[in-house]
């Protein structure tokens, strides 16, 4: 079997042209993200920045890190970790928003207002 040929190179050899093209694409995308950030898009700012960063990240994974050519198991391991982080972020944000009503109603309560006034008067002394 040629697989056991001693001169057979292990892994996938990335062509030099691909490496350079990926590098250029990453630099162009960095310029784009800086240029876009000069314009205030309001709440969209974060999403545009994250979108561009995700494209850059995917390119790095696929070509520099060889994931496109690797055993799919490696992609699976890495993909699971990314999905877990996204779940963690999403659920934590959703959870933190759940308690806004409680915080608001507490802050409008007499107990809180009285405590705040007492703190302010003691700070003034």
């Amino acid at each position: 079997m040629s697989k056991h040929d001693e001169h057979h190179t292990l892994g996938h050899v990335m062509p030099a042209s691909t490496l350079i093209n990926v590098f250029l694409a990453l630099i162009v995308l960095t310029v784009v993200t800086v240029a876009v950030a000069q314009k205030d898009l309001g709440p969209l700012n974060v999403w545009v920045a994250l979108f561009i960063a995700s494209i850059k990240g995917s390119i790095v994974c696929a070509y520099f890190m060889h994931l496109k050519y690797d055993k799919k198991l490696n992609l699976l391991i890495f993909g699971i970790s990314v999905v877990l982080v996204l779940i963690m972020i999403t659920f934590t944000i959703v959870d933190s928003h759940f308690y806004y009503n409680n915080i608001d109603s507490y802050q409008q309560s007499e107990t809180f207002q009285a405590a705040k006034a007492a703190a302010a008067s003691s700070a003034a002394k």
Partner: protein, 261 residues
């Protein structure tokens, strides 16, 4: 073990003398290479989870206090972050090229690529040093230590005015000038938190860069001794993968801290 082994592993054993880098518990170089790859990818997955916790902190804080990221961003110099982004992307290119050179038995190119990667990492840390030392000098620090100098506050206010001006942000920064800052808890607490998150995330990333420099230095020594070839370059491959993850995390940190407000 040997009873279940087919003719192929026996064939590989016959070559033991030639494949000196084959550990005895692997049948073939291919198997050894693939097993090592799974190992390094599992490690990279834990790195993603590690930083994922901090990205969660960032996201929660951003979702609840968007205005503070808007102001915090002006304390950072985006040009420095952009230079570091370019430096890291270039170092990722040379790290990937080092793997290619090892696979093609190009020893000289391998060593040069590793040296360039190392120098890029050092450049990154020098820029980081200038950023951090400026912040330490001007009191732009984490938590209770957050006490920016008037000069720094004026500089930030100028920057905001230059960008079109945000009266609320300027008013906020003018108010901080009345000291002591730490007593204005309600006001500055979120900004203290912003810099805690900033220093924690960029600091942890910086530690990763330093570790990477150590690993690359080790590779340079081994590569110049001619210890890598197209059948054995797993250390180069693994360190390069680690280095790409360090680059990948910076690709997210740069816009999230320096660019978007």
């Amino acid at each position: 073990m040997s009873s279940t082994a087919t003719a192929e592993p026996a064939h590989a054993h016959g070559h033991h003398g030639h494949e000196k880098n084959l550990a005895h518990h692997f049948d073939t170089m291919e198997q050894q290479f693939d097993a090592g790859k799974i190992g390094i990818w599992l490690f990279l997955a834990t790195e993603v989870l590690f930083f994922g916790g901090l990205f969660t902190v960032y996201s929660i804080y951003r979702a609840n206090h968007p205005q503070l990221y808007h102001i915090g961003q002006y304390f950072l110099t985006w040009e420095m972050g952009a230079i570091n982004t370019a430096v890291l992307i270039f170092s990722s290119l040379t790290a990937a090229w080092a793997v290619r050179a090892a696979q093609l038995n190009q020893k000289k190119i391998l060593v040069s690529m590793l040296v360039i990667t190392f120098l890029c990492a050092a450049t990154f840390m020098v820029v980081k040093y200038f950023e951090y030392s400026h912040k330490i000098h001007e009191g732009v620090l984490w938590g209770q230590a957050f006490n920016p100098s008037d000069a720094e506050l004026n500089h930030v206010i100028e920057k905001i005015e230059h960008k079109g001006g945000d009266p609320k942000a300027i008013e906020f920064l003018e108010a901080i000038k009345e000291r002591p800052v730490a007593e204005k808890k309600d006001m500055v607490a979120p900004l203290q938190m912003f810099f805690s998150i900033y220093f924690f995330m960029t600091g942890l990333h910086g530690i990763h860069v330093l570790v990477g420099m150590g690993l690359i230095a080790w590779l340079i020594v081994r590569a110049s001794k001619g210890q890598f070839n197209n059948r054995y370059f797993a250390p180069v491959d693994s360190v390069a993968l680690y280095w790409h993850i360090v680059d990948l995390i910076w690709i997210f940190l740069f816009p999230l801290f320096y660019l978007i407000g």
